[in-house]
């Protein structure tokens, strides 16, 4: 039997049971702190373990076993996605810097032409661009009598590099425009040519500013590479569908197999996203 303390529960009294004291969490362990690493772990576990546990048994392989069995193949496909995205990014970045600088060039025709190109490739669905490239570019080209085959993945890479180019061009243009005009004036009055001003004074100042949006474009293109499956490129999503079919198309395999693909992309793109955000914060405070 307990007697209510007339002095209230908050006041410590010699001999009082700790249980009677007001409940307060120590600061450093106030709640379960979910860190990104925990989330990935939980997500991974849930994706493979829950369906496996719910639907396991019987003669067929459990979903977990299926995923493990096919993981090497699926990861090869994922590596292909990464390779396509990296190459598309490289080609698109080089072309995009050129296009962006063309938009900033002096003269009448070149900037307008570059601007139109940028707007077209920025404002159409990537998938439609991909279709165009797949069906308009021949499967091989002959250069000086040498036949160069153009496999589907090469065409897809080229297709993805087009929106990258347009977006990078816009990033370059925006970054250069963000440098105050007074920098151009100062360089001009020191007899720098326009080209020298751009390469030695303007671009070095805005290169840092271009990095976060550029990485954003990369994360988007990495995720978009699965669209290549629609045009028949054997990348991760294509392989996932084939594995699913090879395992008899069992409905309970759907979630684990595609969940594995989701997980791969998430684990790849999330750190890029975090890193981008961190860079953005750092450049903001400077």
């Amino acid at each position: 039997m307990s007697v209510p303390d007339p002095r209230g529960p908050g006041e410590a009294r010699p001999g009082a049971l700790p249980v009677l004291l007001p409940f307060a969490l120590p600061e450093d362990r106030a709640a379960v702190r979910l860190r990104p690493a925990h989330l990935w772990l939980l997500a991974g576990l849930a994706l493979v373990a829950v369906p496996a546990w719910a639907q396991g048994g019987g003669g067929a392989l459990s979903p977990l076993e299926v995923v493990i069995k096919w993981a090497p193949l699926l990861l090869t496909g994922f590596a292909f996605n990464v390779a396509i995205s990296l190459m598309a990014m490289a080609i698109g970045t080089v072309a995009g810097i050129g296009l962006g600088l063309a938009m900033l060039a002096e003269g009448w025709i070149l900037p307008r032409l570059a601007w139109c190109t940028t707007q077209v490739f920025r404002n159409v669905p990537w998938l439609v661009l991909l279709f165009f490239v797949m069906f308009l570019v021949p499967f091989q080209v002959t250069v000086f009598g040498i036949r160069v085959p153009l496999p589907d993945w090469v065409k897809a890479t080229f297709g993805f590099s087009l929106p990258v180019m347009a977006n990078v061009a816009e990033i370059v243009r925006g970054a250069v425009r963000s440098v105050p005009n007074t920098q151009w004036e100062a360089a001009e009055s020191l007899a720098f040519t326009r080209r020298q001003t751009l390469w030695r004074i303007i671009l070095p100042q805005c290169a840092k500013r271009m990095l976060p949006p550029w990485m954003n474009v990369y994360a988007l293109i990495a995720m978009a590479t699965v669209q290549a499956s629609i045009v028949g490129v054997t990348e991760m999503l294509t392989l996932t569908a084939q594995v699913h079919a090879a395992e008899g198309g069992r409905p309970e395999l759907f979630a684990p197999l595609y969940g594995f693909a989701l997980l791969c992309f998430f684990l790849y793109c999330y750190p890029i996203d975090r890193f981008t955000a961190a860079l953005e914060r750092r450049f903001e405070t400077r």
Binding site: A186, S189, L190, A191, F192, Q205
Partner: protein, 259 residues
Amino acid sequence: MTRATLAATPPPSWTPDQPIVRLADVHKSFGSFEVLKGISFDVRKGEVVCIIGPSGSGKSTLIRCINALVPVSAGSIQVEGIDVTDPRLDKLALRRKVGMVFQQYNLFPHKTALQNVMMAPIHVLGQDRREVEARARILLAKVRLAGKEDAYPGELSGGQQQRVAIARSLAMRPDVMLFDEVTAALDPETVKEVLVTIRELAEEGMTCMLVTHEMNFARDVADHIYFTDRGVIVEHGPPATFFASAQDERTRRFLSQVL
């Protein structure tokens, strides 16, 4: 007012006994707004000229016309015989002769003070890096910034940045220096250090054209003062007579406000 004769052909060669800068009936319009309505005067080598006047009277525009940052609408400007208004003007050749310092310093923020001073001689004039560096260090010492060579503009005070900007301009060995309200953005206590630098420059014989609101400086250092209002030169003269006996009503009103 010394009115430059509008010669039919530009002088074939310029000699130092001729005015180094000649403005003849310079007009400048932005759209329908006429900022400069016929400005004419000459500046001789080694002269220090101050252009004063109320805000919006076209002083900054005028000084920007001289190194072709702003194209003139009509009239002619000559710098050492180079016709600035010629459509085939070699702007780079002109700007190698004319240095300019701005109100907002406009240093290159990604370069140190020393690099700011070194950039143009190296990349524009193609001079030897080691020689340029040695000279840049001397120039920074001259503007009393020895020890600040490796500081970035963001780490320097306004007055220090402005002195780096002066050194940067001098590194090109210009024949004329243009100063566009170079102390207007500075704290009062740092104005002096910049003015001292300009005064030393003037005493060494550098031809200087300043747009300024520093009347005491103009009185002490200038050889000639031009008072502009609404796009025209209202009155001008050597400081002694200009400040003592201004004739025009507008000049007197302006001087009574700023002195």
